[in-house]
Amino acid sequence: MIGFILADLRRLWAGAAVVILLVALATALGVTVTLQERALRLGSARAADKFDLVVGAAGSETQLVLSSVFLQPAPLPLASGDVLAKLSADPRVAWAAPIGFGDSFSGYPLVGTTRTLIASMVDGFAEGRIFEKEGEAVLGAAVRLPLGAEIKPMHGTAETGGETHAGVVYRVTGRLKPTGTPWDRAILVPIQAVWHIHGLGHHEDHDDEDHHDEHHTDSDHEHHGIDIDAPIVEDFAANAPGIPAILVKPKSIADAYRLRQAYRGGNTVAVFPAEVLTNLYATLGDAKLVLSAVAAGSQALVAAALILVTVTHVGQRRRQIGALRAFGAPRFAVFAIAWFELFLMVAVGVLFGFLIGLVAARWIADIFTVQSGIVLPVGFGKEDLRTLLLLLSTAALLSAVPAVLAYRQSPAKALRS
């Protein structure tokens, strides 16, 4: 029987290939959409994992999260430096770290922050060490620059017509281990350097200018610069300039809620990024609806493909089934052949579809990771197994249709057709 089925499929290999391809592509589309949507949800949630509480100036909570967790370039309102000072002194706070952004270098965002934040966010260094002077920088795991490279920050991004900060050069001292977050694509520099470049926080202005002139006597800048050898001060007790975002590590969960309460309203917002993301998914209901619609559409496509295949299969097999019956094949064998041949094609198509879907989703996720730094965990779960079983059972049922139809027709009629 298997021999007969295989001979039949070999003979009609082009048709069988089209059937398998059709079913595979329709399945793959649904699988890709499903896997991608789930991976995006999980991946972004993981990216926000280390960000317990983010405080910023009053404004869009969503933008605050997108800019601080996902490093999406956008102008943020600045919270006053007092907020950082107050948070640093708050007994409910383990530590508070300013995050400053806006500059970039060869496509990578420059993020000004503290060593405390880096130490708590990342598992450590793949090579080199943390910055210890104002003119040093460390690289996220995905930044393709060597240790010792010179970083010349550009205001904004090259695409938006940013200009370089003349004379400012950081030297790379280390590379972090991967985190699977957008921060892997960032170049991390001391926040104090960012402030100095932008002429902020110069509470010891003349000292700085003196250093400056000593080191850059040949440049005729009116810009503010950094003192590459200055030690890093991460004590924000007072006099910090305006800050776009502050990452706060509360001492306990209860403290986290109290802090969020305390820094909501007035001039500041305090958000749990995970919560904002959840709300974001909820408000992005439309987008999700579109994805679900695409997924549902592709499922419908699979169903349509299956029905189309079934109908053509009935037509093609009518004569064959009639002949098998006429020449003495028993009912069960004819039924089994008609059923199994169709089911085999559809099942192979569905399995290929899952494979193609997985590969496609991985591929899309890789591209996404390269562009965003967010690692998307693409993979099959229990619910996918359920979908697979559902599809295969549907295929099994549908495959029986030609076999049943074949018996509703006399062999004489089937042979004539």
């Binding site: 007969f4 001979a7 070999r10 098998l324 003495g328 094949a329 009912r331 006399s410």
Partner: protein, 235 residues
């Protein structure tokens, strides 16, 4: 006289077959008997009901009313499945367009129905090879689609004979063949049926084939208009 058990006799009573949209029945036979071991030709113009007659007596179609008794048992009363099983055990069919399965070799085609019915033991496989060589085919492993039409019909005859049927029924077995291979196939069919001692019913227009059979039924517009014995035909 005792007949071999495998030979089948036929008795048709009050058979009437109509199709939707047609005013008169396509086939109407009041009473007809064919004795076990008899060799009968069925002739008549195109559309006279020959194929309908074959489809009814083989149980391939159950469109009509009346009874069709083979060795006394009425196949019109059998279920679809039971009729398929009965046909597999008792009828060797040869059709105008072969109905062989491409992709399979000659011997696999001969054996396919028996294999699907799980009756193909080694004796039957040997018999398949013997039958192929007795119909003059020396390459049993040849793929069916590479054969000439005459060779294909020989394979079909071998398949019809495999399970030693009580009756061999052929519907225009030579009509789609050229005259020389048609003649060869006709001779083969008669010889094989004689050797198997089966009842034989052949629809044909071929005078040389008809002339070599015992009896000739002529159909016209679904009715038997002539029923002649061979000696009466011979001039």
């Amino acid at each position: 006289m005792t007949l071999p058990e495998t030979m089948l006799s036929l008795e048709v009573s009050d058979l009437s077959v109509s199709f939707a949209g047609l005013t008169s029945p396509v086939l109407a036979i009041g009473h007809l008997t064919i004795a076990a071991g008899e060799r009968v030709a069925v002739t008549g113009g195109s559309g006279s009901g020959k194929s309908t007659f074959i489809n009814m007596i083989t149980g391939l179609d159950r469109a009509g009313t009346g009874s069709i008794r083979w060795n006394g048992s009425d196949i019109t009363r059998l279920s679809e499945t039971a009729r398929d099983r009965w046909r597999a055990g008792h009828v060797g069919l040869v059709m105008q367009d072969f109905h062989l399965f491409p992709g399979l070799s000659a011997v696999d085609n001969v054996l396919l129905p028996a294999r699907l019915a799980r009756v193909a033991d080694s004796a039957m496989i040997d018999r398949a090879h013997q039958l192929l060589s007795s119909v003059g085919l020396v390459r049993p492993g040849q793929k069916i689609e590479t054969m000439s039409r005459g060779e294909m019909q020989r394979v079909a005859i071998a398949r019809a004979l495999l399970r030693q049927p009580g009756v061999i029924i052929a519907d225009e077995p030579t009509a789609s063949l050229d005259s020389s291979s048609g003649e060869a196939v006709a001779t083969l069919l008669l010889d094989m049926a004689a050797a198997a001692k089966s009842t034989l019913i052949v629809v044909s227009h071929d005078p040389s084939l008809i002339g070599r059979l015992d009896r000739r039924l002529t159909l016209s517009a679904g009715r038997i208009t002539a029923d002649t014995a061979a000696k009466e035909q011979t001039r």
